[in-house]
């Protein structure tokens, strides 16, 4: 296991319980989608795994150390004063990697997400989808063992988000990081992951989990298969039950 949450609870002062208790395990090279309604603590779970927050109770363990964990947010979260290449090179620069080497690896990562020609562009000159790709390239430039994606496509239009979903799977196939993919979109979760974990409404607990059959990356037309639809239906039911139980 590359990262686990063990009976983890998070309380926020003033607003009470935000998460848990929750158990979650992420295997080496595995893609797990975490689905739940807004405010169920999905993002909190992710920040715990990133080591950016500490649990009130329970235990967080990570085999991936600092520098081996990467994070992509809902917004591209790029520094507007830096070029695409400089943004991608940032994690390396902060780790003290030599300038030219950092630049070379950043350009390689940009090439991987199909943005080789935009390396000198500033974030303001990029479309939403392109900016998100830069953000992905920045997350991958350190060759992470654990990649945390916090609703990374939520702000994009349908066509762009589908294209990016396939891109992420292709990148996963090439680099094989473990991915935790947080989303509130059931179809996206089933499409992206080998395992979907469903959370109840806040404070979030695990409502259930479901293994997703089929090859990763997904073959063309996967979304229209009977299996995909049935699984998405089942996950939706689980989600609905979780919301009722909380209500």
């Amino acid at each position: 296991m590359i990262a686990t949450l063990n009976q983890v609870e998070v309380d926020y002062r003033g607003s009470g319980r935000a998460l848990g208790p929750v158990d979650l395990a992420l295997g080496e090279g595995e893609i797990v989608a975490l689905v739940g309604p807004s405010g169920c603590g999905k993002s909190t779970a992710m920040r715990l795994l990133a080591g950016l927050e500490q649990p009130t109770r329970g235990e967080v363990s990570r085999a991936a150390g600092r520098g081996e964990t990467s994070l992509v947010f809902q917004a591209p979260t790029l520094a507007p004063w830096m070029s695409a290449a400089a943004n991608v090179a940032l994690p390396l620069a902060l780790a003290g990697v030599e300038r030219r080497e950092a630049r070379r690896r950043a350009e390689e990562a940009l090439e991987r997400v199909g943005l080789a020609t935009s390396r000198d562009a500033r974030p303001a000159q990029l479309s939403g989808g392109m900016a998100m790709r830069v953000s992905l390239a920045r997350a991958l430039v350190t060759r992470p063992r654990l990649l945390l994606l916090d609703e990374p496509f939520a702000a994009l239009d349908e066509i762009t988000r589908r294209a990016l979903a396939d891109d992420v799977l292709a990148l996963w196939a090439a680099l094989k990081p473990a991915i935790l993919f947080v989303t509130h979109n059931v179809e996206e979760a089933v499409y992206m992951a080998s395992k979907v974990v469903v959370m109840t409404a806040g404070p979030g607990r695990i409502a259930g989990e479901m293994s997703i059959a089929g090859p990763l990356p997904r073959p063309p037309g996967f979304r229209t298969t009977e299996g995909f639809r049935a699984t998405a239906e089942a996950v939706s039911d689980l989600l609905a039950q979780g919301m009722e139980r909380a209500a």
Binding site: R47, R66, T77, L90, A93, A95, R122, P123
Partner: protein, 255 residues
Amino acid sequence: MRRLADIAAPVVFVALLLGGWEIACRALEIPVYRLPPPSAIGTALTAELPLLLGSGWATLSTALWALVIASLCASALALVAGLNGLIEKAIQPVVVTLQVTPVIAIAPLVQIWAGLEHPERAVISLAVVVAFFPIFSGALTGLKAVDPDLERLFDLYGASRWQKLWRLRLPAAVPFLLEGHKVAAGLAVVGAVVAEFGAGSGGSQGLAWRIIEAGNRLQTAKAFAALLVLAVMGAGLYALLQLVERRALVWWRGR
């Protein structure tokens, strides 16, 4: 076509205003010392131009010096406050108190501290006080206006305090610093004039003194001319800094 109208509209408006003013002065036979017509102001301006420009330069250089000093002090103090929340809390009330105190009210004190034989120091100090606040609050806001997720990334990648300052907070503060300086430039001129008024007669050769002097002698047209020079100067300085801001923002965000 639209552009032409945009430019023409204010020109036509001002022309109508001046024309109406001129006609009203003549038709109602208003004494020149009470309200001079624009033509008289124009005559006074041409006649007194060298003197007024000299005084204008005195006021402008006061404002510019004040802007430079305020910029250095305010940026440095904002940096210290931005790095340490306790220091910020400690100095914030003092800064706000200084800001809300009318500068004219502290003029006599500053004159005493600067020494009565150095009125120009008092004037610059007072203008610094006025220009200080927008730069300070802009810089401090900017240093704290970092995207929290971007800061989380810096934490995740193990950035040191120094790296976070140098690579994240300072560059993020640039637009706020530019805005603060633009506002401060206009205020520095206001501050310089108010300080000249406050510093009283004799010591100062600035435009404020020209206005007082002309007023005392009932040379109202000359007072208006000095006022005109002052307004043009203030607007020019603001426009210059706006241009600098726009250029710098293009450099900062690439377009």
